[in-house]
Symmetry: C2
Subunit: 211 residues, 2 copies
């Protein structure tokens, strides 16, 4: 079972590594980090580099596709090499998945038309322009497409997918081995739970960045 995790310049590290850490524990899993060109790919903070072991052309038909997000996503929205690979790889994949703004890349490739999907809370509205139906849920399964919300939600998405593929007992073993019994020290992880003033401030700041 080949699992291809897409990398591009300025991806968000946890978007990619969260699902990786769950999915690499599937029986018979072969995970591969894949990019337009093989080699080092820099994350969004300039201090983390993951290596893409293969180029897109070397991984034409993975069983599972994982697309992370990050500030670098916007520069890929018209990259036909990446979008074209997402289309052909998804045509034969069992599951095609995304984390955070990775869903906007799936949407730009035309893969989420008419589907329910999610994204980072700050970019959720952007899905509608591509014919997807945005939902604020943390993990959205629509057919063989699974989209996850911001950054850390890829862990929940990955574990959900492990359960679908290998069954509940194996997924519970993965959860126990990764001690995924989260205890956030605050309760501000979604716009519904965070203080309203904080939500407003981050929304305003993101508009300035996106302008």
């Amino acid at each position: 079972m080949q699992i291809a995790i897409v990398l591009f310049d300025r991806f968000t590290a946890l978007d990619a590594v969260g699902p990786y850490e769950m999915l690499c524990r599937l029986p018979g899993a072969e995970t591969v980090f894949v990019a337009q060109r093989p080699g080092p790919v820099r994350g969004d903070r300039g201090s983390l580099t993951l290596v893409a072991d293969k180029g897109f052309d070397e991984v034409p038909a993975p069983d599972i596709v994982v697309v992370p997000g990050g500030p670098g996503q916007s520069a890929q929205m018209e990259n036909e090499t990446l979008l074209g690979w997402l289309r052909t790889a998804s045509a034969t994949s069992t599951w095609t998945t995304s984390v955070c703004t990775g869903s906007l890349l799936l949407a730009a490739a035309g893969l989420l038309e008419g589907r329910r999907a999610t994204s980072h809370w700050l970019t959720l509205d952007g899905l509608a322009a591509f014919g997807a139906e945005p939902t604020g849920e943390r993990v959205v399964v629509d057919g063989r497409f699974i989209t996850a919300a911001g950054v850390s939600s890829g862990i929940d998405m990955g574990l959900t997918l492990v359960g679908r593929i290998a069954g509940d007992e194996h997924a519970q073993a993965v959860q126990l081995m990764t001690e995924y019994d989260p205890r956030p020290p605050y309760d501000a992880g979604s716009p519904e739970k965070a203080p309203a003033a904080l939500v407003d401030r981050l929304r305003a700041e993101s508009r300035l960045v996106l302008r």
Copy 2:
């Protein structure tokens, strides 16, 4: 504020990237992945490679030290280059932290003697041999040492440390930007919560591996 994240052959990816994703969002943070020699370092599953930008000798006095764990930890327990660096770096650091079996490396360096500390639930008992006091808590703060339990607990540790350094409001902003509102699809993330038969099986399997 320089944050050094230690890499070694066969580290567990999420142990390193969980805290990274939180701590890199501290104001003025400069994160650096550091290893005995700079260059690519392979994770524990043979399919993920993170790049260490600097060698230990280039990062003599970081403000924060983060030590991940993973199956490769046992091969480092007598590596005096790594243990010696942990000692000197910790002598001047503001915070020295670990995730998973990374605490055994801190313990082997003599840094946890007389301190309360945690580790992956399967290796918790190993701390006592080095004079540390094992506790099953998810995140343990003892003085300027913070140890976290298995794999995913590094996210909670990282966010806790962000709050201590930059205050609750900044930590909440980091939590909201990373949408850290976890919803595990199962409730088997600790030996107390998982089915007893599963805990017993994983314990027996780990004894075979460790023998």
